[in-house]
């Protein structure tokens, strides 16, 4: 193992004719052997990053490095990278065995070795005994596995997965999330997974890059991103959030919904305008007397695991609450929450400044 990042983007910009910037000045580094997810709405440029790494397109400006080597103009067929496509892109004229063997046959390996490696790969994805099936005879989930086997059989350094679970039904999708994660850990390869599904991203990744409009909004572990979203977009895209505007009164004191609350954020300008995020599961239903905030129950939905209760405070802000307790529509209830539940977001803060601020809290907490 070496310390050079397996993949590095340096100020990469991608333009398509007449479509403006698909990627704007993207830079990042990926470490070997981790599970990365590019998460964002459709059209945010996540698939473009994948295609740049695979070598199907070349960046308009900027440089791409794989294992420290600049690969801007290295064609796709000479890169140590394999892709699992959204529609699987299996060859319909070849059977399962030949689909998986395709890359090895191109490399003109000996027949015995091809046999051994294809069998191994198929066993890896639990498709032993399916060698002679035609692709048309396979179900969606099985085709998915063939596509994965076809990628891993070539022993690439990086495996790119372009929304591979989006065509599967919910149950199979959840199953495949476990399998993919486990597969990545067994293989120890770098996986780069593209999705618009935040649950998939949170469940599988070591690190998530949240993207929007051709820019990386925030990167970090699933927990970082969920608990400390950098801005409104990330907070809204990952999980459900109550986002309201407020002001920093002083360090550890924030004002929103016409009230002042204790919080854990500091180092902002006094009276700075900020946005407040509180996750619905951090709000607890209680009596008006015990609550920090009094709200009126507007609507209530039963979601299985919990009730999703929409409430309104006096200032007219909507507060979404996830609770296992039922509330009565139209009644006045209290909402309780810890100071830690309040997440303060500065407007237009860069990712570096945001990270520095978060680190500063840690030090302050230690000093206390």
């Amino acid at each position: 193992m070496s310390d050079t990042p397996i993949i590095r983007f340096e100020n990469v910009t991608q333009q398509y004719e007449g479509a403006g910037n698909v990627l704007s000045n993207i830079s990042f580094e990926l470490e070997r052997g981790k599970f990365y997810t590019l998460l964002g709405p459709s059209g945010c440029g996540k698939t473009t990053i994948l295609r740049l790494i695979a070598g199907f397109i070349t960046p308009t400006t900027g440089d791409i490095y794989i294992e420290g080597k600049k690969v801007n103009h290295l064609p796709a067929n000479e890169r140590q990278v394999n892709t699992v496509f959204q529609d699987y892109a299996l060859f319909p004229h070849l059977n399962v065995f030949e689909n998986v063997a395709f890359g090895l046959r191109i490399k003109k390996l000996k027949k015995a070795e091809i046999d051994r490696r294809v069998k191994e790969a198929l066993e890896f994805v639990n498709l032993k005994g399916y060698e002679n099936r035609e692709i048309q005879e396979m179900s969606g989930g099985q085709r998915q596995r063939v596509a994965i086997a076809r990628a891993i059989v070539n022993d690439p350094e990086v495996i790119l997965l372009d929304e591979p679970l989006s065509a599967l039904d919910l149950k199979l999708r959840t199953e495949m999330q476990y399998e993919l994660r486990e597969l990545q850990q067994r293989l120890g390869k770098t996986f780069i997974f593209v999705t618009h599904d935040q649950e998939e991203a949170l469940a599988m990744s070591d690190e998530i890059f949240v993207m929007n409009a051709g820019e990386i909004q925030q990167s970090g572990t699933p927990i970082d991103i969920y608990d400390e979203p950098i801005n409104r977009f990330v907070a809204d895209f990952i999980g459900e959030s109550n986002i309201v505007s407020g002001e920093m009164v002083a360090d550890y004191r924030v004002r929103f919904a016409n009230k002042e609350f204790d919080c854990v954020d500091a180092g902002l300008n006094p009276n700075e305008h900020v946005e407040i995020v509180i996750r619905p599961e951090d709000l607890e239903i209680t009596t008006v007397a015990d609550g920090k905030m009094a709200v009126t129950v507007d609507t209530q939905l039963f979601r299985g695991v919990h009730y999703e209760i929409s409430t309104l405070d006096e200032a007219g802000n909507e507060w979404l609450v996830h609770s296992t307790k039922k509330a009565e529509v139209g009644s006045l209830i209290g909402l309780a929450f810890d100071p830690e539940a309040i997440h303060v977001m500065r407007l237009n803060e860069s990712e570096d400044a945001f990270d520095a601020r978060l680190e500063a809290y840690g030090e302050m907490a230690n000093e206390k």
């Binding site: 199907f56 796709a76 067929n77 529609d87 395709f102 191109i106 490399k107």
Partner: protein, 265 residues
């Protein structure tokens, strides 16, 4: 398909009767021992014997088959590459222009193609005969092959090509291992269609053929002009049976291709 009404069935039967009756009438009288098509005097195979005994006719038959096979083979090779070229043209306008130029050749009358080839060959001094017929048959077959191969190419997901490159395939590998196997049904369809077009072409061949070289359709035409003999009937019957065989063969090939190799999802 829903059930046809009674009127529909009668109409359909009438149409097919009108289409096929002359052919069966012609075939029927090819077995007539009398020399005309007015009265059936008795069964005979002598007209067929006459066809096979006429070495000139056999040579013409061979010419026709050789021209058809060669021209459709060469046209298929050129047409397939042309279709691939057209599909992968980045420039939309250019692609549409190419397609239009291709389609104009299909719809333009054979007489015009034949006449223009005649002018071309005489201008550049190509001797009229086997070569001129072969070249013109290749020329009018290429657009047919292109039009048969294009739909298959257009239905192919571009991800397949990306996937092949991703797995290490060079441009040449992609062509021989992915694109051509994928469009194979289209290639065969194009080949067979070109073959039948070449076999029964009259107008173009009539213009560009010279002394000493003739194909069946041209020969039958001149025989018919010289006066009706039942040898023509026998020859036509043979051609009809062969064509029928080709169509049936093509149908079975297509059936097999459909069950084994339907593309994608």
């Amino acid at each position: 398909m829903g059930k046809l009404s009674k009127l529909g069935k009668v109409y359909l039967a009438a149409v097919f009767f009108i289409l096929y009756a002359p052919i069966f009438y012609l075939i029927f009288y090819s077995f007539n021992s009398g020399g005309t098509m007015s009265s059936f005097d008795g069964f005979t195979l002598e007209h067929y014997a006459a066809v096979f005994n006429d070495t000139r006719l056999i040579i013409i038959l061979m010419n026709t088959v050789i021209v058809a096979l060669l021209s459709s083979l060469i046209a298929t090779a050129i047409g397939v590459l042309g279709a691939i070229g057209i599909v992968f043209l980045r420039n939309r306008k250019m692609r549409n222009a190419m397609l239009s130029l291709n389609n104009i050749l299909i719809v333009s009358p054979d007489v015009i193609i034949g006449a223009s080839f005649l002018i071309l060959f005489t201008m550049i001094g190509v001797k009229l005969g086997f070569a001129s017929v072969l070249i013109s048959h290749i020329a009018f077959s290429i657009p047919i092959v292109v039009i048969m191969v294009l739909p298959k190419l257009q239905e192919m997901s571009s991800n397949l090509i990306d996937a092949a490159a991703d797995l290490g395939a060079s441009k040449r590998d992609i062509l021989t291992r992915v694109i051509i196997p994928y469009i194979k049904p289209g290639i065969f369809a194009g080949f067979f269609l070109a073959l039948t077009y070449s076999l029964d072409d009259f107008a173009v061949t009539f213009f560009v053929t010279g002394n000493g070289f003739s194909t069946l359709s041209v020969e039958i035409y001149s025989m018919a002009r010289a006066g009706i003999t039942l040898t023509i009937n026998a020859l036509s019957a043979l051609i009809f049976v062969v064509t029928l065989g080709l169509v049936v063969g093509y149908y079975f090939f297509n059936q097999r291709a459909r069950t084994v190799g339907t593309g994608g999802q």
